[in-house]
Amino acid sequence: MPERPDADALFKALADPSRRKLLDLLHAHDGRTLNDLCEHLDMTRQGVTQHLDLLEAANLVTTQRRGREKLHFLNPVPLQEIYERWIAKFEKPRLKALADLKRKLEQDHG
């Protein structure tokens, strides 16, 4: 699978504990307002806004307007792409090895 053109923005967005905490907060409860998210972070409102902007630029967070409120949603699609690009290909040989081992052991005891 080729590298995503925007992979740098994605990994940069993940390389910060406050931004990962924001993703965890949205995972626990999706569709939160800025005020709601600020309550959980020891940071200025402006700081949280900047982190959210970066997450949105990396497509890890999407927003929707509902009346006067702007709601933030976790978008896991880029994470799935990281999984497929960086993890699944390493996992496959190991899963095959385990499956082969199981088959061998079961044959021996069969």
Partner: protein
């Protein structure tokens, strides 16, 4: 009443017309939806169903809005598992917006129920389906052959 919602977004280097066709063509769908496909006339009021590879109907409903190649809204009720069916109909909105050389595809799925087992179930599936769709349209191949590779190896 409380709602459960998720919003998934992916940017695909294609045209809105090709993406619309990918979202509504049963044979093409099978390639990125792990063998599943949807059957519908894709016009407002027509029935819609999502069918497993073995022919069982997993979800059924109707087309609420169809504005090709921009917006598709499906009333979507799970059929297979009783506890998911009991939560009633959800609304799935697909929006296609051209942005430069790509199309932004947003999938919003909402149900009038909080917490929702249905939303929890489909929210795990959509990223895989969307990621496969992106790979298929951009490179002609899919990334994941099997939705649950760990289970297949057992």
């Amino acid at each position: 009443m409380a709602k459960s919602t998720f919003v998934y977004v992916t940017y695909i280097r294609t045209t809105p017309e090709k993406l619309w066709s990918a979202l509504t063509d049963a044979e093409f769908m099978k390639q990125y939806w792990f063998g599943n496909h949807c059957e519908s006339e894709w016009t407002v009021g027509s029935s819609w169903k999502n069918v497993y590879p073995d022919g069982r109907v997993t979800d059924a409903g109707e087309i609420v809005e169809a504005d090709p190649p921009r917006r598709l809204v499906i009333r979507w009720q799970h059929q297979d598992k009783p506890e998911l069916k009991a939560e009633g109909a959800s609304l799935c909105t697909m929006e296609l917006e051209p942005t430069g050389s790509a199309v932004k595809l947003s999938v919003t799925h909402t149900i009038e129920c909080e917490p929702s087992k249905f939303i929890a179930a489909v929210s795990g599936g959509w990223p895989k389906v969307l990621s496969n769709l992106k790979s298929l349209l951009e490179s002609g191949t899919i990334a994941l052959q099997d939705p649950y590779p760990a289970a297949a190896a057992r």
